[in-house]
Symmetry: C2
Subunit: 348 residues, 2 copies
């Protein structure tokens, strides 16, 4: 009878090589401490047995796991739907891959205990995608004392916030939408987790996510800059950052406010949906209606949307670095106004 299949351990390897467990251990963790001859014997034995280091045992002993935890909002699957999140996470993935680290997408949902979530894996650091200041999962993560990077804020003690100045950028891009406009409107991100779609006056709105709030503030500022009244500016709040919904919202907007001559969209995803509707209806863009987005996703650039360029991919790389233990440099993140075909020229 052969032995029942059992995963070989260092002990097995050592026995096979006729050396002590420690020589085997050193061979994998600090090869230089071992003589070349011993090293070779251990390696041969390991190969023959199909030995593989046991990660959990190593983690238990050393205290780190080679994994970083990524937390993306309420629905994990959102990570694969939102184009911004997607770009950001691709950057995170790149750094993890280069460092040979794994990336754990942590499940989050209202009915899961945040503590359980955060503990669900042994993790060396966390990356959060845009969340609310009172996110319990975030609070839980902070108590671990591990490095935490948060894209888009909130800026919280014990974490590193990776974010451009959304307020300034939103102000700048809105200003482009507002050239020659008298009756602007806004299509906005959801303002709270419940995600009720709604229409309101711009002054009446506050948002839970810092990013959303900052962009709203920027838009309000640019309205004032242009001597327009936020209280008179309709704002459609979507239930999701999604181009199909945005298309519906644009329809609703133009039917209820047919004189609208500028649509400020809080993201390119929204702008793409609005653009589809406007094109279908053969609105003259930008002459009759101007349109702006935010984020400069490739498709928006292709379709000539005036928007804000920010490098979410690079931000992902940065965030991953911080989660892996880089000391957070104070490199302030840049954005750039990308003026294209959906806005009217600045009058000289």
């Amino acid at each position: 009878m052969s032995q029942p299949a059992r995963r070989p351990t260092l002990k097995d390897v050592a026995a096979k090589a006729g050396l002590s467990v420690m020589v085997a251990s050193y061979t994998f963790s600090s090869p230089d401490r071992v003589s070349a001859a011993s090293r070779a014997r251990i390696q041969a034995a390991a190969a023959e047995l199909g030995y593989r280091p046991h990660r959990a045992a190593r983690t238990l002993r050393t205290g780190n796991s080679g994994l970083i935890g990524v937390v993306v909002s309420e629905h994990l699957s959102y990570a694969f739907r939102d184009p911004g999140a997607t770009q950001f996470l691709a950057g995170v993935a790149e750094v993890c891959a280069a460092a040979g680290k794994g990336m754990v997408l942590l499940p989050t949902s209202a009915h899961l205990d945040p503590a359980a979530t955060i503990t669900a894996a042994d993790i060396d650091g966390y990356v959060f995608w845009t969340t609310a200041p009172d996110d319990p999962t975030l609070a839980e993560a902070v108590t671990t004392g591990l490095p935490i990077a948060i894209q888009g804020g909130p800026a919280i003690e014990g974490t590193t916030c990776i974010s451009i100045d959304d307020r300034a950028a939103a102000r700048a891009v809105s200003a482009e939408a507002l050239h020659g406009a008298e009756r602007p409107a806004v299509i906005a991100f959801p303002t709270d987790p419940a995600r009720q779609p709604a229409t309101a006056s711009l002054t009446a709105i506050t948002a839970v996510l810092p990013v959303t709030q900052a962009r709203l503030d920027g838009i309000r500022a640019s309205l004032k800059d242009a001597h327009l009244d936020p209280a008179q500016t309709p704002c459609l709040i979507l239930s999701e950052n999604n181009r199909t919904r945005a298309q519906g919202a644009a329809k609703e907007l133009m039917e209820q406010h047919p004189a609208t001559d500028a649509i400020i969209c809080m993201s390119d995803e929204i702008a793409l949906g609005a653009l589809t509707y406007l094109n279908q209806q053969a609105f003259d863009i930008p002459e009759k209606v101007s349109l702006t987005g935010f984020d400069a996703i490739p498709e928006a650039l292709d379709r000539g949307i005036t928007t804000i360029k920010q490098d979410l991919h690079e931000q992902g790389r940065l965030a991953a670095g911080i989660a892996l233990g880089d000391t957070p440099g104070n490199a302030s993140l840049t954005w750039e106004l990308h003026i294209s075909g959906t806005t009217r020229q600045r009058r000289l």
Copy 2:
């Protein structure tokens, strides 16, 4: 002097509650074994100390980690770029979230040791996204003896392949493209990892990925069904499943073969790129040129592309279930031909 901060252990909790370690352990793992009174005392002590179970220790002891490993091709960031992968992974994510399991995206790249990759985390099962039969990472995963689900194949001993009959589906959708066509062409996925773009006759092509090969075979079969010659059918091979590249390929195709009257695209992503070009050039679709895709991603449905519906999201759910230990049911996966505006009507 206060104690140096140390993460509290079960022992601390037990001591504080004046009970044994095991009562504390049971309180977390099988609460029913413990009297309500003890449970309450343990919970109170745990809360006060900020106790959190130590995952690695539990993993070391029990042998499972609550994590599943996801392997996506060469570039991890591809997981967040390809719309098909994205739908699939959203499904995986959903099941993981519901089960309270984490999802580890394992880094893979040519210069990383596959063994290291597979070992990079303690994992209870694997999900692979479409890979090649000789993928060394896959081979390594198989040696672990853990459950493995592979979307799109290869179908390999020791794994569960989650896939529709791509050949039959490709044959069916191509047949739609070919109604009334005499000079068809194909725009195809990359055929090998080196991903050289190329143009060739359809007969000359073989592909590394089973999915690609099956779709090619199906297309060839439908050409024969229609008494057309695969050897006369140009096939453009892309370097990436990407609509921008597909748009360029469509341009190249129509410039070099202006009489082309049907374009069979291996995915909706490709079809969307081709459609953009054809629309720009004001080709009459479907009268002058018909067009088909594959996968039924939402945008393709919106734009009226004739395509194959398959539920990648559901396949992701299935794959996750298998990786989490479900016994692979033999539910054969279905697909459905979705006929829309980009193909000519079948002649009666």
